[in-house]
Symmetry: C2
Subunit: 364 residues, 2 copies
């Protein structure tokens, strides 16, 4: 992704590795402070994942894979059996950094099985390096491909509404929905992005606006509940969001607030697209009603984090002490409101259980 | 309204007057600091209206009427002609405190015409006092009546979603929608209130939660875009909101975010009620599309005001500097999504232009 800083334009990834040094864009203080973290040991990388220096499905997976590569490289032994033991111990620690992140566990297990296929330590190290780099490369190509397929769907000069952050900070190199938006802008199919702020964490205000600024893509921020007004005014030509999970019948779990935007799009005859890699599809769950919805602490609703008047980053309290609050992190959008799934292998517009499983089996 | 403070329970109005001293609940620092302002001259009262010490259609109108009564009382002359002149000069200043508040201008003109009807200065003063007190009394009885009519509509133990602040801080003594909620709770027709936070000003988090706490009415706060999730879970039995303007065909202008809640209620077969006094109906506008929608500064979207870590009240910045933002303050809910209008004269459920004008003419 492009980062413009102090007059310079850099081409960076949210997470990258060179000579076993991992570098992350520190997302915790964006958009107010841009900082890169250099992580010189696998333990440092684990701590950074845990401390949310990086976030987003893709970035967490890639960071985990790089931590595995660092670990394989840093283990001090010439004995294969001892290497295996120490590498597995490291894997456990890396897994525990974000216990529920599916991409992290997938990356760690892929690296473990790559190591098993080597006979010597050097072979094992080389195998892990290769798999870690493949994970990154496959994210980059999926992001690029989603952008290509999705951008062609939009009419010239479209005004697109998006929600949450679905850019290069979360999936290398350009994200999912935001990759579509970026490529659409390049080919003249996008005139303006409406960014809903995405309370309670404000990924829209803090991260999506920042990423769009890097590419100088015209955008306007709005509070989440102003979206309905835009639809009534007739100024939204398409909605594009990401997805956390897409289940067998096509129902979509995504950031809280997605469902309302899908319903608005449906009622106002505006296409609603979900951009997500094939790895997002989960056929073990048949309908959206069965998706467990994470509820987070009430405090996140009672406070808002931002740049304080003194220049520091911190919370302001916006509700009385101890106010009870509900904080569901995701909601479920019924398949009938989805116009199309934009994947790295193409766009699926027949949103029926059979068509979805056929498409994913054929392409995945 | 009831205010519980330091173990005491007080019965207060947001704006009241005794011996020509106006007392206001200072809404600017609620819920973090409860303070009463004593305003001993009409100029002080005007400044307080201007500084947003009080807000809300009813409160601004009552405060304006009291400022007129203070002015009539404070004018230092024994000459009727000079009195008339000075009183009209004061009226101009009072009107300018909130130039677009319809209730303020209605109150000021009512007091001016009351003064004209007196022959002596003493008569004029008495007339203004009487009209000012009538304005307050009529708000109080309308609030009470809306509560009575609306609370009877709800089924026992209903779970009700509301938006923005529609309580006693805005219309004496108990507001519009919040008056319905309070009386419903008293008669066992309400179990729980869902309060949407209402960005950008957070009237839900800051004021509605505070008012509900005073009456110990069970409530849960949520971010605006979590409402859709509640409807999908089937835990909302009714929606009750206020209104800024209801036009001839029944379309409703109200706080931004109202439209989305009405649409959700419609799709999920949940009744959607609008509680508003008859004075809210405006037959000069035929449909919602003709209602001018105020757009406010982008800064309100880029910042959030709350209690800072150092205990002060101030803003945090939540988006990059100079991010362009849209900030429409109201949206329009089509009449077809409204189940009923709860007024001080009863409930209107036939939401057609003819029925609305017949009802308002008959009752108003």
């Amino acid at each position: 992704m492009r980062v413009r800083i102090e007059g310079q334009t850099l081409d960076l990834l949210a997470v990258q590795m060179e000579d076993y040094i991992v570098t992350m864009i520190d997302q915790r203080w964006l958009p107010f402070k841009f900082e890169l973290r250099r992580l010189t040991s696998w333990q440092d990388t684990v701590k950074a994942i845990k401390d949310l220096v990086t976030r987003g499905a893709g970035s967490v997976g890639v960071a985990g894979a790089f931590a595995m590569a660092q670990a394989a490289h840093e283990i001090q032994t010439t004995l294969v059996l001892e290497f295996n033991h120490l590498f597995q111990e490291a894997a456990k620690v890396i897994l525990s950094a974000r216990p529920t992140a599916v991409t992290l566990s997938a990356a760690v297990y892929a690296c473990l099985s790559a190591a098993e296929k080597g006979t010597t330590i050097a072979e094992k190290q080389a195998n892990v390096d290769r798999v870690a780099n493949q994970i990154l490369a496959s994210d980059i190509s999926a992001s690029q491909a989603m952008g290509k397929h999705g951008s062609a769907l939009l009419k010239p000069q479209s005004r697109v509404l998006t929600h949450c952050n679905t850019g290069g900070l979360g999936i290398q190199d350009h994200g999912s929905a935001l990759s579509v938006i970026r490529q659409a802008y390049e080919i003249g199919n996008l005139a303006l992005v409406y960014v809903s702020e995405t309370r309670p964490w404000l990924q829209g205000s803090r991260l999506t606006t920042w990423e769009l600024q890097q590419y100088e893509i015209p955008h306007q921020l709005l509070v989440d509940s102003a979206c309905g007004h835009l639809f009534r005014k007739g100024v939204v030509d398409a909605v594009i969001v990401g997805a956390d999970r897409i289940v067998a019948n096509g129902d979509v779990a995504n950031k809280i607030g997605t469902y309302e935007k899908a319903l608005l799009a449906h009622v106002h005859n505006v296409p609603f697209y979900v951009a997500a890699p094939l790895s997002t599809f989960d056929f073990d769950i048949s309908t959206g009603d069965q998706i467990p919805i994470e509820e987070r602490p009430a405090k996140e609703v009672r406070t808002v984090v931002g740049r304080l008047p003194n220049g520091g980053i911190g919370p302001v309290q916006v509700a009385p002490d101890r106010t009870e609050a509900l904080n569901p992190v995701f909601d479920v959008t019924p398949a009938r409101y989805v116009t199309g799934f934009i994947t790295e292998k193409g766009v699926l517009t027949k949103i029926k259980p059979k068509q979805i499983s056929k498409f994913v089996r054929k392409m995945g």
